[in-house]
Amino acid sequence: MWDYSEKVLDLFYNPKNQGAIEDPNQDGVAVVFGEVGSIACGDALRLHLKIEVEADKILDARFQTFGCTSAIASSSALTEIIKGITLDAALNISNRDIANYLGGLPEEKMHCSVMGQEALEAAIFKYRGIEVEQHEDDDGALICSCFGVSENRIRRVVIENNLTTVEQVTSYVKAGGGCSSCGAEIEDLIAAIQQEKELTASRVAAEIATAQAQNRPLTTVQKINLVQTVLQEVRPMLLADGGDVELYDVEGDTVKVVLKGACGSCSSSTATLKNAIEVRLRERVLPTLIVEAVS
């Protein structure tokens, strides 16, 4: 038997916000739902959002879930977390936030929290009219055919949750949990991500060390180099969401980027992305950097 936290059991036995949301057909209020999973996979979540259009805010969130104890609890937790916040803030919610809210999940059940995060994204993207990556059509990037998991989805959980083993990836997105023939590929992917990460880290460290040794601030060329390496790291996650980012220019401490695809098509998501990229750049390169989106 799984070792569930009190909170998981509580939200399973007494779930909050279950059901669908009726469209009130009211001006300024939109109702939308996002869905992930299927009966074949053993779990599915349909997340309903009621959105205040003007404020871009989630007025109400409800869920319908087919799945196990932790799937139901994760769904309910998600609705509690996102009620009342803006869509941009909601997009910043990760599967870890859901797991933390629940006081943790057994590792084998982390995919329930990932399902929550993915349904949230699906609902918001649908509302914003953004095409979500079609895993089925995109054979080249499909790593696990048993569970239809693409390279980008794996990249994302690996980076966001610092995963290091195939078993962990299986626990988070199920990839590898069927015939397990994709195990080697997942392993390679984890190694590649690890390497990219180390490479960026060592390059950034080297550049900063040189600058410090010469007792001068980073030159613009150095900044460009560093920013580029960090952006390369962020890109896969954006790609997973159907977007992309490109460095346009660096002026002093201002980094100008072009947001593309899904990211560029709506103004509100640019804010989120700008923030996400800025946080990363500040952490990795210079705490004074400011990111600006140009079109």
Binding site: Q18, G42, D43, T65, F66, C68, T69, G148, T170, G177
Partner: protein, 400 residues
């Protein structure tokens, strides 16, 4: 939590109090080694002999045909290996798709070692088609190995007919009777079975003991090599207490065989009541089924969620859903039956024992409709989408 209502007897059973009583002196007073040359150990040897008589009686076999083992897994491994060494020139093996992991995984390994294995399929009731066996078997077949009855669905296989086919081709016939001993009468005197596995903890003996029936005259080679215990056929100091317990449990099982009809009545009562809940289905062969087992698919909801809900009322059952298995795949048995995913993930097995009471069954029937209703209210799927779902699932599965 209220008192436990234990309906998971195909997983393991309560040790009968009489069995406990029989065992205790051998954990305290009579701790001698039956192989020793003193009478203190010798009296233990006598008790083992008595246990062997009791187990042989349950199977209508001879005492010399019984080897005590540590569990069903050991019995099955020993039997399968013994069949291979008995006819080393034969390189083809036959089993079924719905065997226990300790059989299936062993066959997978044997495939890697150069054996060819045929896995017989089952129909949507989990039943075999013996024509398939007939088509597969050849003079090169060393072994036909199958379960007597399936642990998940309770479906009983036509083992004697299968054994007759095996005999025709000179293949060894092994049967995993772990779920059957104590539930259906067994008579090895008029059987086609060469090797048969039973396990103690499925018939109210403790865990860690089992027995392997080996037909007299079978060229048996042991799996465990060492001392002369079990007449050299299973080395290792005997699990004395366990074996005494198994003996007593076998004796009790035989006495209680007559009660199986009552058990079946209760099972039918439970099943009928559960089927009254809309969108439910029996998984298994209603005509050929263990009297204590029912496996029911509750559509549009997931098994683990049902189990946890039942747990609140102290009711123990099990499920073939992916989430309960620890792997991400649902039960290989239900999948081999080709069940739709809507049924598969919401399958619950209730397995009764001679201790099950009508009040317990009624308690399940009292709480189950509410549990199903609550979870269905949470689910995005329902019967109105049945056709759409079916198409979608087929497309999804087809894509893989």
């Amino acid at each position: 939590m209220s008192a436990v209502i234990y309906l998971d007897n195909n997983a393991t059973t309560q040790v009968d109090p009489e069995v406990v009583e029989a065992i205790l002196p051998y954990l305290t007073q009579y701790y001698g080694n039956p192989s020793s040359m003193h009478s203190f150990g010798g009296q233990v040897g006598k008790a083992l002999k008595q246990a062997r008589v009791q187990v042989a009686a349950l199977l209508s076999a001879e005492e010399s045909e019984i080897i005590f083992t540590s569990c069903g897994t050991e019995g099955n491994n020993t039997a399968i290996r013994a069949a291979l060494t008995a006819q080393p020139d034969r390189k083809h093996l036959i089993t079924t798709q719905v065997e226990h992991a300790c059989v299936l995984n062993l066959f997978k390994q044997l495939e890697k070692q150069g054996y060819t294995v045929t896995y017989l399929s089952v129909d949507h009731k989990g039943q075999l088609d013996l024509m398939e066996l007939e088509a597969a078997i050849t003079g090169n077949t060393a072994l036909v190995s199958m379960m007597y009855a399936n642990n998940e669905t309770g479906t009983v296989f036509p083992v004697e007919q299968a054994g007759a086919i095996a005999k025709e081709y000179g293949a060894t016939f092994h049967v995993d009777a772990v779920q059957v001993a104590g539930k259906l009468p067994l008579n090895m005197k008029i059987s086609t079975i060469d090797l048969m596995t039973i396990s103690g903890h499925k018939l109210h003996a403790p865990k860690g003991v089992g027995a392997l029936y080996v037909r007299r005259g079978f060229r048996f080679r042991p799996l465990l090599i060492g001392g002369h215990q079990e007449r050299g056929r299973r080395a290792g100091t005997e699990n004395v207490a366990g074996i005494i317990g198994l003996g007593k449990a076998a004796e009790l099982a035989q006495l209680h065989l007559a009660d199986v009809a009552t058990e079946k009545k209760l099972r039918d009562r439970l099943e009928k009541g559960l089927l009254a809940i809309p969108n439910t289905e029996i998984n298994g062969d209603r005509k050929n089924r263990l009297p204590n087992t029912t496996n029911i698919g509750f559509k549009y909801i997931e098994g683990e969620a049902i189990l946890l809900s039942l747990d609140q009322y102290g009711i123990c059952a099990s499920s073939g859903s992916a989430c309960t298995s620890g792997s991400l795949e649902p039960s290989h048995v239900l999948r081999a039956m080709g069940l739709p995913y809507t049924t598969l993930h919401g399958s619950i097995r209730f397995s009764l024992s001679r201790y099950t009471t009508e009040a317990e069954v009624d308690r399940v029937l009292e709480v189950m409709p509410g549990i199903v209703e609550r979870l269905r209210a949470l689910s995005p799927f329902n019967n109105d989408q049945a056709e759409w779902l079916q198409d979608r699932e087929e497309a999804l599965v087809g894509a893989v």
